[in-house]
Symmetry: C2
Amino acid sequence: MRIILDGMGGDDAPVSIIEGAIAATAEISDDDDIVIVGKEDIICECLEKYSYKGSQISVVNAEEVITNDEAPVKAVRHKKDSSVVRGITMVKEGDGDVFISAGSTGAILAGGLLILGRITGIDRPTLAAVYPVIGSEPSLLTDTGANAECKAKNLLEFGVMGSIYMQSVLGRQNPTVGLVNNGTEAGKGTPLTKEAYALMEQSNLNFIGNVETRDLQNAICDVIVTDGFTGNAIVKLTEGMGLMVLRELKKRFLSTSKSKLGALLLKDQLSQIKKEFNYAEYGGAPILGVKGALLKMHGSSDALAVKQTIMKAIPYVEEDVVGTIERAMENVQEMVGDE
Amino acid sequence: MRIILDGMGGDDAPVSIIEGAIAATAEISDDDDIVIVGKEDIICECLEKYSYKGSQISVVNAEEVITNDEAPVKAVRHKKDSSVVRGITMVKEGDGDVFISAGSTGAILAGGLLILGRITGIDRPTLAAVYPVIGSEPSLLTDTGANAECKAKNLLEFGVMGSIYMQSVLGRQNPTVGLVNNGTEAGKGTPLTKEAYALMEQSNLNFIGNVETRDLQNAICDVIVTDGFTGNAIVKLTEGMGLMVLRELKKRFLSTSKSKLGALLLKDQLSQIKKEFNYAEYGGAPILGVKGALLKMHGSSDALAVKQTIMKAIPYVEEDVVGTIERAMENVQEMVGDE
């Protein structure tokens, strides 16, 4: 398998990208290799500082960079020699199996749509994200921001694609699917959630009904389905609260000599909690619904996050998530019809 | 001032209501009194178990109870002798200054609309909530669930009403107002948030622009404006994460004898964190936009939550929040016109 990494995306590129790639070579199979796409001179100069198995990491030059400030569709159309366009094109042409980037979400989505194209039957691809549940296995949240406005049909598709990813990549058998709503009763919510509820109930999904956000940290379901506006609010609030908790614990636990001693005795427990709150542990967010495997990492991804995302990319490809979604969509399309 | 309490609403009524009322009598002025509305026999039997200043607590009988399972509008129309209808009618007729209930949110909202009526110029009243920010002063979140679907004009009104409440009741001068969005840049979001942004920018609000949920625990603004679907997701996720943090800290800190000792040394810090995560500390949620003062408490409110809500009710009435909103709406209406 060949994993394509965007060498230019993210706050700390290319250093964290390169360090993550090197860390991954210690864990991936000898048959797998990693290609870093981006400005060759910068990447090679950085690579030279590390020792690694040369046959497993190579560089493909791309002179342009798409920034977060650019209009995504326009950037993808015009910057043909950017790391994002080159990398996704390699997946399209079979020169790579999966593309991973910490760059502009909009550009990666636009690249997926324009270069790879949508899977037949998918109206809107989704940016899903592994959603950390502290003290338990993570859930998958879809959509987290690719589609701020949704139709009920989109939410159903998110549920189908999310279930396939959850089963194939995270090994969760027959994953449960919940619809984010403002109450658990069947009749609750907006016209959108009511219609989505009806579609999901009729589907083959392991649908458990409406879920309230207060239960997301109780591991209420494996796949959490919502529109991209609400999903974005959920994922960012969860992240913000995690950071707040760590900040407040640290501040208070270091406030007196007695509390410092207490914190010392709780060192193991505190570092475990810190680890579980760390988004980097959970790897990147798959873009599901396009004809190729794409993973978007957080812009602030460090080497650990990059390595973890590479490790998630392997079952994503091996279990043929893209092909499984293509086949599943044939059934969904029969159910909801063409709109 | 006369404070009307719903004696029948909430998981633990009338006990927590009565205990909260008695606790409040120790703090309110001698000129203030509390009326508990509900089944007189049950309430009086319960009251007899406590000692309190008899002149400050009285009971008004209401034989019916509106439950959470009932269709709110129908229940308010038919159950004329319910605690909610009697209590709100007392405010309407000047027999009370504010009505407080831990009962059905829908019924209290419907009662507000049908009995008190909307303030001229207000399209949709809002259920606002004091939003705890750990380690800092709380914000106010509006709307938290009264209006799952909103127009831009509604969001502007929420900002105006929220600012008035924040300034009058929580004493925050010239409160900052933020609009929840999926990015901070001005052009971000859905048609709804884009239109609301434009309206709020032109208004007299101290508008700071779009805010992302990741910054809500950084005390990014005093008044957080969003639609009721997103607001409901935010408030319930915050609550759920707070409970999760307390649960996980407890579980891990009690896991070994060494960690138990550590937790003992951190007792003060841990109980302070627990206190800050406790919704009860922050009092109830005002329903703003109707012609009278209403406060909705959490269904699981304990005596502390009841007492804190009573204490919040006093400036709500004294600072004439309802009248201030009425006057402010005249200006807003001039700006956005009649729709």
